[in-house]
């Protein structure tokens, strides 16, 4: 008669073997289900973190001042906090107006989403998670933009969430065209810079992306706009990707490459649009 422990070990081994050999359709449904169930927890943590930073700011104002001025400073801190809240509301209002205007201009082609978490648990991919998924007709491989420019494309989509692979992930490749010179190239993500910062927006700043395979025959201008070419079938034509920086010639002398600074502020993503095609 085998002991309970052995039965448990055998069951676990069988479970792991089953997981490793699941067909991809079952794997993605398991992952989607888990992501949907964890989404409310992410929202709670996001709410707690943002409220906590506000409270911590107010408390800091009180704690770091002399004893006799405490009451006045407390009042001052409250007023400052109120002003700060109003300023934040004003900024949010402006941003929402801008997004509304942007959304109207491209009405009918986009789904507006909120970023609920940034990065995946393993840290190997540069992604953000959105609060909308297959229930809103979002599918993998759709372009995702902010009001400023291209952000990336959807990868894993569950019923209520979608993961967006950012433009700066080394796996990301976008077929692009320079606005002025008309030269074609491929924009690739360059990962994360060593000298970046991890701020309250919970994402690290990234190196500029890089554009490769620009024809050496065409003149390329510093600061020129880089837009999607529409080739490749994932990204619609004409989406602003960024601006080209330093341009160099490849060792083979056949083509040019250059740094691309993304137009979208990838450090502060809050609301994004999934382009429906």
């Amino acid at each position: 008669m085998p002991s309970k422990s052995y039965v448990l070990y055998i069951l676990l081994v069988i479970g792991v073997l089953v997981l490793l050999n699941l067909p991809s359709s079952s794997t993605s449904s398991v992952k989607s289900g888990a992501r949907d169930n964890l989404a409310p927890f992410h929202k709670v943590v996001d709410f707690v973190a943002s409220s906590g930073s506000e409270v911590a700011g107010a408390l800091r104002e009180i704690w770091f001042d002399p004893e006799d001025e405490r009451e006045l400073l407390k009042e001052l801190a409250q007023l400052r906090r109120r002003v700060s809240e109003l300023e934040q509301l004003e900024r949010e209002n402006d941003e929402l107006r801008r997004l509304l205007d942007f959304s109207k201009r491209r009405a009918g082609h986009m789904v507006m989403c909120k970023v609920i978490s940034r990065g995946d648990a393993s840290g190997w991919w540069e992604i953000v998670r959105l609060n909308r998924g297959a229930a809103h007709r979002i599918r993998p491989g759709m372009a995702v933009i902010s009001a400023d420019g291209l952000v990336g494309r959807t990868t894993n989509v569950s019923k209520d969430t979608s993961d967006v692979l950012l433009l700066t992930d080394p796996l990301s490749k976008v077929s692009c065209r320079l606005n002025k010179s008309g030269a074609f190239g491929i924009v690739k993500g360059q990962g994360v810079a060593f000298s970046g910062r991890a701020d309250l927006e919970m994402i690290t700043s990234a190196n500029p992306a890089r554009i490769d395979y620009l024809s050496a025959d065409k003149p390329v201008y510093h600061g020129e706009e880089v837009r999607t070419s529409g080739l490749g079938g994932v990204y619609p034509e004409g989406l602003l990707v960024g601006r080209i920086g330093n341009i160099r010639t490849d060792d083979s002398q056949l083509y040019l490459y250059g740094e691309v600074t993304p137009a979208a502020d990838l450090n502060g993503l809050k609301y994004l649009f999934v382009v429906m095609q």
């Binding site: 309970k4 422990s5 448990l8 070990y9 676990l12 479970g15 792991v16 073997l17 997981l19 490793l20 699941l22 794997t27 398991v30 992952k31 888990a34 992501r35 964890l38 927890f41 992410h42 943590v45 996001d46 973190a49 978490s117 940034r118 990065g119 995946d120 648990a121 393993s122 840290g123 190997w124 991919w125 990868t155 894993n156 992930d169 080394p170 796996l171 990962g191 994360v192 810079a193 060593f194 000298s195 970046g196 910062r197 991890a198 701020d199 919970m202 994402i203 690290t204 700043s205």
Partner: protein, 180 residues
Amino acid sequence: MTGLVMIIAMLIATVLQVYLPGHPMLGSARCPLLLAVVLYYALCRPREAMAVAACLCGVLLDTTSGIPLGFSCVCFLAIGVFASRCRSLVLVEAAITQAFFGATAAFLLHVIQFVFLRSTDMIAVSLGAGLLKATGAAVLGGLVTPLVFVLMRVVDASVGVVLRRNDVDERFGGDFGQSA
């Protein structure tokens, strides 16, 4: 009660691991909180609990990342088995031991993940960036593992899954609390 504590700990660890930012100086490695939970069960609890924790943490890590389902279960189980075999040889109570296990396990886990994901073209991270991430994970593992051990011990003691030191003194008439 052990199962409930384990599940709650793993859920909190998962959400925090996703939410806490990685620093570029550490290769944007995430805090290896799930790994720390596995190490706690490997070093401080029965082997059965470790095996269950390793499998569940592996599933959670895989479902919240792009890693193929089941891969992290195998990694966590291997790390858990190795750590539990070592526990009679080391002073588990010492924070330095916990930090050492956390750092080593996080480094190994990231190296294994890098080799696997790179060989299957699932990531396009360079070798330098991969090593930086593994080193960053080791640093974070060394820092967070003792913290997770303390928290898990407090929670386990407060719900009565393990005995507090004072309770041990009272029950067995020893001086375990002070001598430890």
